[in-house]
Every structure is written in structure tokens, then in C-alpha cells.
């Protein structure tokens, strides 16, 4: 599958069989089908295997620090609301190191899409537990097994009334692509947590495991009911996939609320310095 977001002849640093390849394809297709221009997209990521994603998509990117994609993405969107901003990283990056930004970005309702590759493990650093690793799993570091309860990103996002909350599985490219498209089109903060097998370090939560331990929400499911969404988010015998929650009450996004755009819709870089106004203000200090 090649489109305008494909970079030819690139050495991709993921392991053969890694779920990230499907996500890469899914995202490129989604961006293409949304007819977005390469120059107007910014992929923002942290550090990790998932965070290498922007390297492989032919758009602008900001590959920043581990855990810090969301503040960067927020600022980019606030500086130039015309850009399509996607913040993408692993679950260790987004919910571990970056956990505080996760909860506060939801509060802000920045109009960006947050894609989290949830492989329930730290891939790049070779197999330590991540915030979503299941209790009991033995890892390179947690040799006696994980004891901390896994972080539930869906439940937390819903509890904070996040604007758009979805879960997907890397193995299902078509459905995942549709979810991502909805997320990007959605106005306000949207999160898509994507289950992704890590073939090198997570032998438990394999492709097969995810297949067997997930199901899709059916068409009758009403994602606008916060309580119902919460119930779904708590299910762990089989994890529900699809759009869990859309908060219809959140009408304005972060950028909408910025007074800087009240009288002037131009992105910041297109505005000149208003020297006269500054000088006038300074003259008032006499």
C-alpha cells in the first residue's frame, strides 16, 4: 500500500511481525482518505517504538522527548489552528512518563488526535512493565511478576469527560482506519488507544490474545452516554473495541477559547508585531 504519505526505500526499525506496521499502514491510508495535505499535518511523538511512527510518514513531524508529545502538540495547535495535529506514542510514553499531560490535555479539550500504541510493555527499552501491563506478567525487570493494577486509559478519559474516546486493535486495519478518521474529524480532543502486539517482549498479549480477548461494540451502542461508556471501559474479560464515548456537551475546543483568536483568526506566525500598541502601553507608564 503506497500513497503520498509513503516514504520509499526506508529502513524501518521495528521487528518483523510487530503490530506497528499495520498501524503505520492504517494511518497513512486514513490521512490519505481524509484528503489532508502533507504540509498541513504535524505528527508529534515522544520516544519509544511507537514514537518512531512519524519517521515513516511523509509529513511534518516533531519527535520530541519521552512522555512530552501532548504539551508540544497542544502548543502547535494553539499557535496554528489550521494544522492537523496528531500526537502519537506508546502507552508507556503517554500514560507513564506523560501521564500528567494526558489528564490535563483532556481537560483542555485541544482539537488534536491522540493515538496510543498500547502493547502493554516497554518495547524500546527491552521489555519492562508499562502502565498497562497485566498483573502477574513476568518481565525483564518485574521478574517476580507485575503487581500494580494496570492503568485504564479509557475509564480515566471517560471519567474526565473526554471529547472522543475509542479503542482499536492494530490487527483490524480497516476498522481501525475508520476509527482514526472519525477521531481526526472529531472536533476537540480525541484518543484512540490501539492494542498492538509486541512480538519481542510481550509473549502473553499476542495477536491471537488480542483477537480472543476483544470484541467490537455493536451498532446499537450509544457512545454518548457517559455511564454506559464507563461500564464498557471497565470490562476486562473481553475488552470492547470501537468508539466508547463521545461527549456531546463539550462544544468548544481549547483554541476556541483562546482570547488571542477572538478578534483575529490568523495563526500567530502571520501576525506582525504591533509596535505602536506596545509603545502606547509603555507611554502609559509615565
Amino acid at each position: 500500500m503506497n500513497n503520498k504519505f509513503t516514504i520509499q526505500g526506508q529502513d524501518i526499525a521495528w521487528c518483523p511481525g510487530c503490530g506497528n506496521f499495520s498501524i503505520l499502514e492504517t494511518i497513512k491510508t486514513a490521512l490519505d482518505e481524509l484528503s489532508l495535505e502533507r504540509e498541513n499535518i504535524v505528527m508529534v511523538s515522544g520516544i519509544g517504538q511507537a514514537a518512531k511512527m512519524p519517521q515513516y510518514i511523509d509529513t511534518n513531524f516533531f519527535n520530541g522527548l519521552h512522555g512530552r508529545a501532548l504539551p508540544v502538540a497542544t502548543a502547535i495547535k494553539a499557535t496554528n489552528p489550521n494544522l492537523t495535529v496528531v500526537a502519537e506514542s506508546g502507552e508507556g510514553d503517554m500514560y507513564g512518563e506523560g501521564g500528567n499531560h494526558f489528564i490535563h490535555t483532556i481537560r483542555r479539550n485541544v482539537n488534536l488526535t491522540n493515538i496510543v500504541h498500547n502493547n502493554m510493555i516497554y518495547g524500546l527499552t527491552k521489555g519492562q512493565a508499562s502502565p498497562t501491563t497485566q498483573v502477574g506478567m513476568k518481565t525483564t525487570l518485574q521478574i517476580f511478576g507485575v503487581t500494580n493494577e494496570p492503568f485504564n486509559p479509557m475509564a480515566v478519559a471517560i471519567s474526565l469527560g473526554a471529547s472522543f474516546v475509542a479503542r482499536a486493535f492494530s490487527g483490524d486495519k480497516e476498522i481501525t482506519k475508520e476509527i482514526i478518521k472519525k477521531a481526526i474529524l472529531h472536533k476537540g480532543y480525541s484518543i484512540v488507544d490501539i492494542f498492538q502486539p509486541c512480538v519481542s517482549f510481550n509473549k502473553i498479549n499476542s495477536f491471537k490474545w488480542f483477537k480472543e480477548n476483544t470484541y467490537y461494540l455493536d451498532d446499537n451502542y450509544d457512545p454518548t452516554n457517559q455511564i454506559e461508556a464507563f461500564k464498557k471501559a471497565l470490562e476486562t474479560d473481553k475488552f470492547p473495541l470501537g468508539v466508547l464515548f463521545i461527549n456531546e456537551d463539550r462544544k468548544t475546543s481549547f483554541e476556541d477559547n483562546l482570547v488571542a483568536y477572538e478578534d483575529n483568526k490568523l495563526p500567530l506566525f502571520e501576525r506582525g508585531r504591533d509596535l505602536e500598541s506596545v509603545k502606547l502601553l509603555i507611554e502609559k507608564m509615565k
Binding site: 496554528n80 499531560h101 500567530l268 506596545v278
Partner: protein, 572 residues
């Protein structure tokens, strides 16, 4: 009764002291404004505790026939507003200090107090809260000034309030004035300092304002910060002007978010500022390193207060030079500016944005609580600054890190032009893509470090004061400028000259000859370990052995500097 000095014809230091929440700030604001508008040279600064109510805070208002820009330790007139106030400043009292207070509060004090019934008077007008205005009126009377400007000020300040409130305040001012006038008329206290109507046209602002205006002058249109004293003032300033000036203002959830937001904002074409203090800055090290490796500019205002840890949140110190200089892992250039005077700081701050943009590097503005909270009137604000915008419109084949002779690559932003802007905190190639090629690693490190040579070509010259023919060279940096300068003026020794740094890093090669020439170098720093002397040692190879250091949380006073400089300049 001792024969105290009761006539002030050249210079007077008036100190107001009371509890947090008692409204000293209000009195200060009113008095400095009214005095300055009446044509007096006014200097003012304050010291306060880290609490919202209670404790003891004080403000000094110094009025002089010269344009003074620093303060003395000694208090001429103390106005204690609660019964702990006198104790709080007791070591600044002299035989000559006049204490003007409400006797009601000082039933059994050992100090002699000239009583003015502030409280009773206020209550008579209708509310104890008018106490402040009564005091303002009384103080103005000591200057034999009239009430016009005060009344105007009151009318303006309370214009959104009811007419009754305005009326009561004006009445309070008048009552206070009458009480003060009695003292003046009876020659108990007279402040007969000459006023000069031209001073009305002077600028009157504090350090915090200069940094705020400097940011606006520098085209700042984005600020993301987390509140922390004394850095918060600049955030509030920009928020207040956010609508009219089109500034994106966001209170971040923490300092890490703040600095990363600011880098994201620069990346997308904003001119962003972060303001913080030492503890918050310590959390930004990784972000500064990010700015270094991405070559995405960032400007951080680091408002110093005494550390380590939480330290003394509302006090002053110059103890964070080294953390500003070295925080962030790895090796990359940076620039550090240290505001020194009200006159220069608007330009200096505006330049910070130009420098960051030009050199695609972090720039740190290193102020402190003392600088931020200090006002004086001045005729000359250096506003001579242009926006140098270094963003380019990209072409299709744009490479963010194209290697160039100077080390600087053209900086594009996403969505402006046909090119793609790729930046990566991993070591990267010219296109901004991750690489582990050792050759590219060296090229990119050299490219980044080379910028420091370029930066060194246009370092802001230190300010030299005095004769070229000196034995002793006094060195200072940042907020100590005026107090050292005025101390040296008082010492008035032709063999002592003064070199003051507004840019503390990098240090220009031009500095070495100044140091070599001196028989004796004295460095003055508001910290305990003489951090700037170490930086000068690295930069020039010259060790400085004479230090005047202060680290009790308070800035320098003129008298102590006079004493210590004389000591060190003398015993050679």
C-alpha cells in the same frame, strides 16, 4: 526627647511595615504614583513573607533630589502598621529614625513614637479599611504637597465602585493630610525635597513591567507557564494584555509541560516565553536540552529566589546562575541575559527573542525578586529594538538541518511553504531524521557548537563605569547594577572602576583585558559561592579572589557595599 533629625531636604527613606493583608501594597502603589506625579524622584522596593495574611512585610519609599535607583539600609521614617512591625525592621533603625504610628498599637513599646490616630480616624470616617488612605494623606502632607493628585488617583482607582466609597476615601485622605500637616507645620517632620515638574514625564515602572513590555517588544505572542514566585508576575502581565495584543496564554499543569509547550509553539511559528523560578527551572532541564538538539528556540525567564529546594519563596538571591548555565544534559550552546536596570531591560528582553530566533538556541533571562519588585522613575527607556524574524517560507526540498558554514540552518515552520519541517530529539541528519551514523553525529555536534562562536561575535558589551586608569575593578552582574554603581559614586575613588554584565553567558573575549589590567578585582554577588567568578575563571583563565557575597535572602544595601568595597580596595 532626643534631638532627631526632623528636616529632610535632599533624601528621605520612608518604610511602611505591617502584616500581609493590611494593604501596604496599596499604600505603596498610591504613594509612589502620587509622589512621582508630584515631581519627586522616587525609588521603591519591598520585602515580604511567603504568606497571604499576617507576618511582617515592608516597603521602602525613597524620595530624593537626585534620581536614585537603589536603597540604603537605614530608615529615616518608619510607619509601623501593626505591633510587630518595629521589631521586624529593628536592625535598620538608628537614633535618628522617626517612628510615626498609631499609639493605640504600641502601648508599651520602648521606642518613641510620634502618634497619628490612623485607626480612630479611619473608623470615624466609617471603616478601619480607610486606615491606608489616612496614612497616605498624612505622608503626603509631610512633603507639604497638595491633595489634588491623590484625589484624582482615588477617583480613578475606585471608578467602578460606588460614589460613597470614593467620597469616603477622599475624606480619609483629607483627614490624614490634616494630621500630617500638623506635624509639618509644627516642624516635627518636614520633607522639603525639591520637586521638579519634569519628573512627571518620567517613566515609572518596576522590573516585572520591563520584562513584560520587553516580551511584547520582542514579539512574544505565546506564554505557557506554571505559577511560581517571583516568576508569576510576568505571566500575569502578559495575561492582562493577551486580548489586545493577541497572546496565547496557558497555565500549564507543570513546568515540564510549560517548557515543552513553548518549544512546540516556536516550532509552529510563535515567539514563546516561559517564566518560572529555580525549582520550576530545575524541572525544565530536559526541555532545554531538547531546545538545544532540535535547534528550536526557547526563551525562559528564570526569576531567582533563594534555594535550594523551596528555600525562601519570596526573597531574593543570585544563586541560580550555574543551574541556568549547565542544566540540560549533553552539549549545546545557550545565551544568558541578566537584567540590570529598568532603562535597559525592555530592550534586553526583546533581544532575547531575537537571539533565540537567530541562533535557534535557548535563551535564559536571569532576573530576581529584588529586580522584579523594584521601581524607580527614569527618563530613558531603551526601546530601540527591531523584530528580527528568522523564519523562512520553505521550498519543496527543504531540509531543516542543512549544513551551512555558520552552523545555522534556515528555520521553516509547518504549514508555511511547500516543504516539510521534521525535527527529532534523536541525533538526526540534515532532513531531521533519526540517524546513528557517526560521521553525521560529529557534523551535527560541530554544527550546533559552532553557533557559540557566532553568538560570541555579538555579545552585549558589559557596562564599564569609571576611569580607564584603575587599580581596582569591581565586577557585578544582573540586579546589583544600580546599588553597586551608587555605592561607588559615594566612595568616589578614581582608582576604582566598575564592570557590570548584562549578558553573563557567553563572556566576550574583550573582557579579559579589563581583568588583566586590574591590580585587584572585587566581585560582588548576591549568593554564597560566587558563581559568576567561576564562570569568569573558565572564560578568561583569571581567578578572582575578592568577593563580596550576601545570601540572607536580601539584596545589597548601599552602605554595606561602601564599607566592604573600601575594605577590600584598601587593604592591598
Amino acid at each position: 526627647m532626643n534631638k532627631k533629625k526632623n528636616l529632610f531636604s535632599k533624601d528621605v527613606s520612608i518604610v511602611l511595615c505591617g502584616k500581609a493583608g493590611q494593604g501596604i501594597k496599596t499604600i505603596e502603589l498610591i504613594l509612589v504614583h502620587v509622589l512621582k506625579q508630584s515631581g519627586y524622584n522616587v525609588f521603591s522596593t519591598k520585602e515580604y513573607m511567603s504568606r497571604v495574611r499576617g507576618g511582617s512585610n515592608s516597603t521602602i519609599i525613597r524620595v530624593s533630589d537626585k534620581n536614585v535607583k537603589s536603597m540604603k539600609n537605614k530608615i529615616d521614617i518608619l510607619i509601623p502598621l501593626d505591633n510587630q512591625a518595629i521589631d521586624h525592621v529593628s536592625d535598620r533603625l538608628s537614633e535618628d529614625t522617626i517612628i510615626l504610628g498609631d499609639k493605640e498599637l504600641f502601648k508599651d513599646t520602648k521606642y518613641e513614637i510620634i502618634s497619628i490616630p490612623f485607626i480612630k480616624t479611619a473608623k470615624e470616617i466609617g471603616n478601619k479599611i480607610y486606615e491606608n488612605i489616612v496614612a497616605c494623606g498624612a505622608i503626603l502632607a509631610l512633603f507639604n504637597n497638595n491633595l489634588e493628585i491623590l484625589n484624582e488617583y482615588i477617583t480613578n482607582k475606585f471608578k467602578t465602585k460606588s460614589n460613597d466609597i470614593i467620597k469616603d476615601n477622599i475624606a480619609a485622605a483629607k483627614k490624614g493630610y490634616e494630621l500630617g500637616k500638623e506635624l509639618y507645620d509644627n516642624s516635627i517632620i518636614r520633607i522639603d525635597i525639591a520637586s521638579n515638574p519634569e519628573i512627571k514625564n518620567d517613566y515609572f515602572l518596576n522590573g516585572n513591567d520591563t520584562i513584560g513590555f520587553g516580551a511584547l517588544m520582542g514579539g512574544c505572542n505565546f506564554i505557557s507557564s506554571y505559577p511560581m514566585s517571583p516568576g508569576t508576575g510576568v505571566l500575569t502581565f502578559l495575561s492582562e494584555h493577551s486580548k489586545e495584543m493577541g497572546i496565547v496564554v496557558e497555565q500549564a499543569e507543570d513546568e515540564i509541560s510549560a517548557v515543552n509547550m513553548s518549544i512546540g509553539a516556536w516550532y509552529a511559528g510563535a515567539r514563546a516565553l516561559v517564566t518560572t523560578s529555580g525549582g520550576g527551572f530545575a524541572l525544565m532541564g530536559e526541555g532545554i536540552s531538547l531546545s538545544g538538539v532540535l535547534e528550536t528556540p526557547t526563551v525562559i525567564h528564570l526569576a531567582q529566589r533563594p534555594g535550594p529546594g523551596t528555600g525562601l519563596p519570596t526573597r531574593t538571591e543570585q544563586g541560580d546562575l550555574e543551574v541556568a548555565l549547565y542544566s540540560g544534559h549533553g552539549e549545546f550552546p545557550r545565551i544568558i541575559l541578566a537584567p540590570s536596570s529598568i532603562e535597559n531591560t525592555i530592550k534586553l528582553t526583546a533581544e532575547a527573542f531575537n537571539l533565540a530566533d537567530k541562533y535557534q538556541s535557548p535563551v535564559i533571562i536571569l532576573s530576581d525578586q529584588y529586580f522584579l519588585d523594584t521601581f524607580y522613575n527614569t527618563k530613558n527607556l531603551n526601546l530601540d529594538t527591531e523584530i528580527q524574524n528568522h523564519i523562512i517560507k520553505t521550498e519543496k526540498d527543504y531540509k531543516r538541518y542543512e549544513v551551512s558554514d555558520s552552523g545555522i540552518s534556515k528555520r521553516g515552520i509547518p504549514g508555511f511553504g511547500k516543504g516539510l519541517v521534521r525535527v527529532d530529539s534523536d541525533e538526526h541528519d540534515e532532513e531531521g531524521r533519526i540517524t546513528e551514523d557517526m560521521g553525521v553525529r560529529v557534523t551535527m555536534t560541530d554544527k550546533r557548537l559552532k553557533k557559540l562562536d557566532l553568538i560570541k561575535e555579538s555579545i552585549i558589551d558589559p557596562i564599564f563605569t569609571g576611569s580607564q586608569d584603575y587599580d581596582t575593578l569591581v565586577i557585578g552582574w544582573g540586579s546589583t547594577y544600580n546599588v553597586i554603581k551608587e555605592a561607588l559614586e559615594e566612595i568616589d575613588n578614581k582608582k576604582i572602576s566598575y564592570l557590570h554584565f548584562e549578558q553573563v553567558y557567553p563572556i566576550s573575549n574583550k573582557v579579559k583585558p579589563y581583568l588583566k589590567k586590574a591590580k585587584n578585582i572585587i566581585i560582588i554577588e548576591n549568593n554564597a559561592t560566587a558563581q559568576f567568578s567561576k564562570l569568569l575563571c573558565i572564560s578568561t583563565g583569571i581567578e578572582i579572589k575578592n568577593t563580596i557575597l550576601k545570601y540572607n535572602g536580601i539584596h545589597f544595601y548601599q552602605e554595606e557595599l561602601v564599607l566592604k568595597i573600601n575594605e577590600l580596595a584598601g587593604d592591598k
